[in-house]
Symmetry: C2
Subunit: 197 residues, 2 copies
């Protein structure tokens, strides 16, 4: 049905998240039939990115520079440090535009069952960084999952002896959400943390 | 937000059909964070496919071989030739398993406004092939669109002087379809072509 090389190409596209057999076929044929230059660019840039992109030595975010753009930026507030699980979390927060401090990316969360302890998520580096830099507030923005909460709790304990304000993101009703569709856990949290207006 | 190389990688993924900014970001981060070997394979296979895959000299389908697997196959009936617009049409027909003849892939359809005439869709090659091979039936399976119909009509005229049976795929109600949701054109066609049982 497909030639061997086209079969291989379709299989290779299938490793991408959200790409099933039909989409993979469409991608392969699209590049081969209609956009060979786009395909060459993709292959070249992908190879280059895989070779050069590693982790920023300061915040552990993905970057091809030793120290990433956010860490070297002088217009950002070094007194606020936001801890997130993954690079996509940094993107989401940057897109909101609300935060002008710096980041620390755990690249995961604590998960003893998978052998992921404090060292694997860079808590040693975080500790060193907190000793050296004048961080005033540590915003723990791990995911509101069991693992994310456990990781947040661990970090909170770790820094408890330092004179640093530790905060977590507020939990409650998302903007634009409808009460009837919000899970009871979130709704309870919204009641507990209700604010006087 | 992204490092320059990651921005480039996300942009490169966006050329793929059905991939928006969010999916492209997810693909880039997935390969960089979780599956670098899959990424290397994709880059390598893509580059190789773009370099080697051209058209089968006989049926014009995409293939890295001079003559593709279907054309060289001895178990297929050379007396039946099915004309389709694109390689994905070959895949769809092969998946149905109903056809054991050979193909001719136009790689498009007649579209004078875009400068696509008979030569561009390989009708010269088709003519030569019909003169040399003992084709008994020509099944025209172009798309049921205005351009597909026009192309089918042109081919029909072209071969009208040869002693070849020309057929088109039946039009009617798709299996599993519901009458109330079928467009009136299709429904009219199904009435006109009704069969005695």
């Amino acid at each position: 049905m497909y030639s061997p090389l086209i079969t291989q190409l379709i299989e290779s596209f299938r490793v991408l998240p959200g790409v099933g057999p039909k989409s993979a076929q469409r991608m392969a044929y699209y590049l081969l039939e209609q956009n060979r230059s786009g395909g060459h660019t993709l292959a070249k840039v992908l190879e280059e990115a895989l070779e050069k992109v590693t982790h920023c030595e300061q915040c552990r975010n993905l970057s091809e520079e030793t120290i990433c753009g956010i860490c070297t930026s002088t217009s950002r507030n070094s007194e606020e440090l936001c801890i997130v699980e993954s690079p996509s979390d940094v993107v989401a927060i940057e897109q909101s535009g609300i935060f002008r401090g710096k980041y620390f990316v755990l690249m995961g969360h604590l998960s003893p069952i998978d052998g992921i302890g404090p060292e694997e998520i860079g808590l040693n580096e975080l500790d060193t960084r907190l000793s050296q830099e004048g961080v005033v507030e540590l915003i723990i923005a791990t995911n509101p999952t069991v693992e994310g909460e456990a990781t947040a709790h661990y970090i909170q304990q770790m820094v408890s002896e330092r004179n640093i304000k530790v905060t977590r993101l507020a939990q409650g009703i998302p903007i634009g959400g409808e009460l009837e569709y919000i899970d009871s856990g979130t709704l309870s949290q919204a009641f507990i943390s209700r604010k006087e207006v």
